[in-house]
């Protein structure tokens, strides 16, 4: 056992190595741009150098003279595409801003031309020789920029239904013994998955194959088909491996349909490899947000009033909504709650999901404010959370399906050595370094969506699982293979899993941390269908079923539920009884409470996520607690984070190895969101400044000396058949607050705007 493969506790699966491990260490794992194409034309994008205005004229002669140039496509000669609706309005797109549609420029870095050439080198050179004349208008970049408009989110975005409220906040706040009123800010951030936003399109007659890293192959397939005006069955999206997603590949981006349309006209496959800097404007990003938090409490720390007002930046045409108040109004017991989310429109590309989209910015505000309240009350911040721990949803009164928040705090505090903390700010140091300890809670809604699967079992136990799930690094192949092996009672080596292909049975978007719960529940159900058939073959009469174990040595229960004395179902005997060579079953699973149109929507590439606070009688969240040590140099103000400790409870842990890795990566993401990551925007021109991996800071190995992940044993029988809560987006929430809380402890300075740079420290 290595640290990477912790021994399973109760209700945890085996920490088997990744299903795709050998492929990934040998270079055999094929990502979208690795797929072979027959004599492709290479595409290179030209993107706009202004954020608002019009294209007056293209000068293309110089570019066309480059040897090997095939064509240059602009709005003047581009194939026409049908409109695509935003995903939150029943469509597929992450933005309604369409490239090459007109001369209008809506944001910096908008795709304005596609250069096609025989080689990548020629396409790149020609793209750099394209000259564009613009008439520029003054753009609005962000909050406070002239020309922005603001309005309540409710009514603008169908996914943001309600501003949660309960009781009488104003009255309770007025009367509160202790009050806190504070503001926080979080910046624009970009996912920057390692794999670029590449797209390859190849037509075979009327059929289109798209190789593109996607977190939702059914969404992409249906979205591109809609834009091209063709039957969705003619489109196939293939991506067995995805080089990181983090939300950036969840909804359709504008590049895909236009590349497909150009390939059709050219009658030749096209390979597009956009640059890293283009990735900042041709996909989505995390919106910047602002928060006003008001807390009222009794002197003994009981919350009596809580108000969270959030404002978020989106694009002119699209009301993307972060909307984290659904979580921050429900995390702690409080009788009087109020909230409001509003959206500010600026001349930007449309933001979108980025790992824990609502929770990262909104819990930064709430968990920082809790720490400020603890200081005001002269109370340990862990104890303040214990006093306000909830057993029911404070808004709707529904009970939590399970909630191990304080158990997580206690485990993590112990591992971290929280008891060694002297509570006074600036009271701990080591030579030139001021030391601070800080903590925060994390939580993430447990979500599920309908999913289908097909499973084929052979007489010798070889099993093939087909499901259009996505391997974005989460370990999806591995946990699906484990589920099938356990359920059918075959050895793991005999299970083959096929994913990342829209010709396979539909699975939901790999987003909202729903994948494991949804896909494994579907696979489990289909394996049970197979078991049922085999069992019936051996035991045709129901009345004999009870005696089955004694008479022929089989059990109707799958291996995961079998009692100790049960013997495994004898697959060979069952096959002989059935007289077949292969047993194959297809099935469609949907979570409790899924809407009536769920399965139809699933095939149409539209997700019907259920769970979180939207369950009928209960509320389902995963929880965790995070502790950090921060060191601030008293002379240079350099900030270091030598230790991150997190404890998490997320129902059944399917594989402690892949789960630990995701949580570990999440903690590092959380640190990064506090200390490193921000996309800087030039407010005069509404253009991104640091659009590359040298200037947009992401963590490197030297940034993270010590990370400890603790997984708690938790059983939850109310959420889904697998009993798993999503955890891919659990660990990077709250870390930003824990770090600012630790900085306050180290320096006495409260920082309310992310990211924290050394120039923000005043000593």
């Amino acid at each position: 056992m290595t640290a990477a493969a912790p021994a399973p506790k109760t209700n945890m699966g085996q920490p088997v190595p990744r299903y795709d491990a050998a492929a990934k260490v040998t270079g055999k794992a094929t990502y979208a741009s690795d797929m072979p194409l027959d004599n492709p034309a290479h595409a290179f994008l030209v993107t706009s150098a202004i954020a608002k205005g019009r294209i007056d004229r293209f000068e293309l002669d110089d570019a066309k003279r480059v040897r090997g140039v095939i064509d240059i496509v602009t709005h003047e000669n581009a194939p026409k595409l049908k409109e695509s609706k935003l995903f939150s309005n029943g469509g597929y797109a992450g933005t309604t801003i369409q490239p090459l549609k007109s001369a209008e420029i809506t944001h910096d870095g908008q795709i304005i031309a596609v250069v096609l050439a025989e080689s990548y080198e020629a396409a790149r050179e020609a793209a750099n020789r394209v000259k564009v004349s613009y008439t520029a208008a003054a753009p609005s970049a962000t909050f406070d920029s002239p020309g922005t408009t603001a309005a309540a989110a409710k009514g603008q975005n169908s996914q943001f239904k309600e501003d949660p409220k309960v009781g009488d906040f104003a009255k309770a706040f007025d009367a509160a013994e202790v009050k806190l009123s504070v503001s926080y800010e979080t910046p624009t951030q970009h996912h920057n998955p390692m794999e670029l936003f590449t797209t390859s399109c190849a037509w075979m007659g009327d059929n289109l194959v798209i190789y593109e890293g996607s977190q939702y192959v059914y969404g992409l397939k249906n979205g591109v088909a809609e834009q091209l005006g063709i039957d969705a069955d003619k489109v196939r999206v293939v991506n067995p491996y995805v080089g990181g997603g983090f939300g950036s590949r969840g909804s359709m981006t504008p590049r895909t349909a236009i590349i497909a349309a150009i390939a059709r006209r050219l009658n030749r496959p096209i390979k597009l490899v956009p640059t890293r800097d283009q990735g900042f404007t041709i996909a989505t990003y995390r919106a910047e947000t602002r928060h006003e938090i008001r807390l009222g409490a009794s002197r003994d720390g009981k919350l009596v009033a809580l108000r969270h007002e959030g404002a978020e930046v989106s694009s002119r045409p699209d009301a993307y909504c972060v909307g984290g108040t659904k979580t921050t109004t429900r995390l702690y017991a409080c009788p009087n709650v109020d909230s409001l989310v509003s959206i500010v429109r600026a001349d930007r590309n449309t933001p979108g999901f980025m790992r824990s989209p609502p929770e990262v910015p909104y819990l930064f505000a709430l968990e920082s404010a809790l720490d400020e309240l603890a200081v005001k009350l002269n109370m340990d911040p862990v104890e303040l959370r214990r006093i306000n721990d909830a057993t029911r949803d404070p808004i709707d009164g529904k009970p939590y399906t399970s909630r191990s928040l304080m158990a997580c705090f206690d485990e993590a505090a112990k591992a971290f050595g929280w008891s060694q903390r002297s509570p006074q700010p600036k009271s701990m140091s080591d030579g030139d370094w001021l030391i601070g300890y800080g903590c925060a809670a994390t939580c993430y809604p447990t979500q599920m969506a309908p999913s289908a699967a097909r499973v084929r079992l052979q007489r010798d136990g070889r099993t093939r699982v087909e499901i259009a799930g996505h391997e974005i690094g989460t370990g999806a192949y591995t946990v699906i293979a484990q589920t099938a092996a356990e359920r059918l009672g075959v050895s793991l080596e005999k299970v083959a899993v096929f994913m990342g292909d829209s010709d396979l049975p539909p699975a939901p978007v790999a987003g909202g941390s729903n994948s494991t719960a949804s896909t494994c529940s579907a696979v489990m159900m289909v394996c049970d269908q197979i078991r049922h058939r085999l069992f019936k073959a051996l035991m045709p009469s129901d009345s004999l079923a009870d005696k089955a174990k004694e008479t022929v040595g089989i059990s109707p229960a799958p291996s995961t539920q079998a009692a100790k004395g049960d013997r495994r179902l004898d697959i060979e005997k069952a096959f002989d009884a059935l007289g077949v060579g292969v047993v194959e079953e297809y099935g469609e699973w949907k979570p409790e409470g899924a809407p009536l149109d769920s399965f139809r929507a699933m095939h149409n590439g539209q997700v019907r996520l259920v769970g979180g606070h939207q369950m009928k009688d209960q509320i389902a969240y995963a929880f965790g607690a995070e502790f950090v040590e921060i060191r601030v140099n008293r002379f240079t103000h350099e900030i270091r984070c030598p230790r991150l400790v997190g404890a998490f409870a997320a129902g059944r842990i399917m594989n402690p190895r892949t789960a630990r890795s995701q949580l570990m990566g999440g903690l590092i993401w959380g640190m990064s969101s506090a200390l490193l990551e921000a996309t800087e925007i030039d407010e005069r021109n509404a253009r991104y400044v640091n659009d590359n991996l040298a200037d947009y800071l992401v963590p490197v190995n030297a940034d993270v000396p010590g990370v400890e992940v603790i997984m708690l044993s938790e059983q939850d029988d109310h959420i889904n058949p697998v009993g798993a809560k999503g955890l891919g987006e659990l660990a990077n929430v709250g870390t930003n607050a824990a770090i600012c809380n630790a900085i306050h402890h180290a320096t006495g300075q409260r920082i309310r705007k992310l990211p924290v740079r050394l120039e923000n420290i005043e000593l």
Binding site: S119, E125, V242, G473, S661, M664, A694, A702, V704, G706
Partner: protein, 204 residues
């Protein structure tokens, strides 16, 4: 990087090429300013195919390529060795790292012509007879990746890190592996993998 005598098959002078073309063509931003080149005599046109022989994973590969082709694009687009990955094309992320004469090099910033006559090792060249290289095995054992996209570069870099003598402590490994970005942030597991594989690699 020492030249190996007699290794050049095309008769193309690498140094002359570097002086003439690298500055103007490889870096797109100056390509516009250097538009004179496009009208220059054909002999100096970088888009004209150039014959080159690359030695990759112990085998000579003869190619006819645009003179501006990087080692990374030569591997991926011309030799169909897609293990090495493009993550930035700017030498900022390390996903394209290969070994050239045993040194770790970002192949996106190395012209294919400049690598002629040198030994290029990619991730595809590490395993022998289905036996994984110790570093590959260590990456599996320590779950040192998630999405896997940066992994080939991490592994090549890790092998060089050990051979350079920079794997003596965890702090050293962290420092000398910081040229390879892993956005999934498998970093602590990468450190553990390098630590595990180091003794076996040093043994030879």
């Amino acid at each position: 990087m020492p030249d190996k005598p007699g290794s050049r098959s095309s008769g193309f002078d690498r140094r002359a090429f570097m002086a003439g073309a690298a500055g103007s063509a490889l870096i797109p931003i100056t390509a516009r300013a250097a538009s004179e080149d496009a009208r220059a005599p054909a002999a100096q046109d970088p888009s004209l195919p150039v014959e080159v022989t690359l030695r990759v994973n112990g085998k000579d590969k003869r190619l006819s390529i645009d003179a501006r082709t990087t080692v990374l694009d030569a591997l991926r687009e011309h030799l169909k060795l897609t293990g090495s990955k493009k993550g930035c094309d700017h030498g900022q992320c390390g996903a394209c790292t290969v070994l050239i004469d045993d040194r770790r090099v970002v192949s996106c910033l190395t012209l294919a012509l400049a690598a002629e006559g040198q030994e290029i090792t990619t991730v595809e060249g590490l395993a022998t007879d289905d036996r994984l290289h110790p570093m590959q095995q260590a990456f599996i054992d320590n779950d040192a990746f998630q999405c896997g996209y940066c992994t080939p570069g991490q592994i090549m870099s890790a092998i060089a890190c050990v051979k350079e003598g920079h794997a003596g402590s965890e702090a050293d490994i962290r420092e000398y592996m910081s040229g390879n970005i892993c956005r999934c942030a498998a970093y602590p597991n990468i450190v553990a993998a390098v630590k595990q594989a180091a003794p076996e690699i040093m043994k030879g």
